[in-house]
Amino acid sequence: MILLQWTLTPELLYQAGTGILLFLLVVAAIFSVVQKDLLMAIVGTSLVSLILSVLFLLLHAPDVALTEAAIGVALTTAIFLIALRKTGRYEE
């Protein structure tokens, strides 16, 4: 009976979206750690940064979201990829 009383309020949608984003964050972090292909692992860290930037926006921190989007998603990934090009791609 309690379940029937729930209505689809914006508050509930907001909380559900936050929960899904946090779950995806943890999943992307685990993915980037267990993946043997280092290129995929770097894509995983980039995904972590992207979700983190959306979460900062939800937490009313637009400055931090902009910084994370510019530094975490773009530049850190680029530096990782350059370093991967100079070394080996697969983890033994």
Partner: protein, 113 residues
């Protein structure tokens, strides 16, 4: 509350990568994951329910209904420093690879005694 759990989980995953993984790039990835978890934790501490962003962009916004700006300024600093740390660590990794032709930390043994 769920923010705290998720950020602590991300920090622990990064710590696991630093402790267990043998590949140097994986270790740097773990360091950057620990950074990310700390940033989320700090910003989540400063959050206030029903608050707005700490920018007085329109008339009528009052200081009472704003989230805490101090953790955001701290995290802003921390992200930039994290980028610097990552860049220097990856430069070290490139140098080690040129010297030893491997990224496996078990095979890099010239500094052990």
């Amino acid at each position: 509350m769920i923010y705290y759990i998720a950020s602590i989980a991300v920090m622990l995953i990064g710590l696991y990568a630093v402790l267990v993984k043998k590949n140097l790039i994986k270790i740097v990835i773990g360091l950057s994951l620990m950074d990310a978890g700390t940033h989320l934790l700090l910003v989540a501490i400063g959050f206030i329910k029903g608050g707005t962003a700490p920018i007085f962009s329109e008339p009528g916004l009052t200081a009472d209904a704003m989230v805490d700006p101090v953790p955001q300024a701290l995290v802003l600093t921390a992200i930039v420093i994290g980028l610097a740390v990552t860049a220097v660590a990856l430069a070290l990794v490139i140098r080690i690879y040129a010297q030893h032709k491997t990224l496996d930390i078990r095979k890099i043994s010239s500094l052990k005694w």
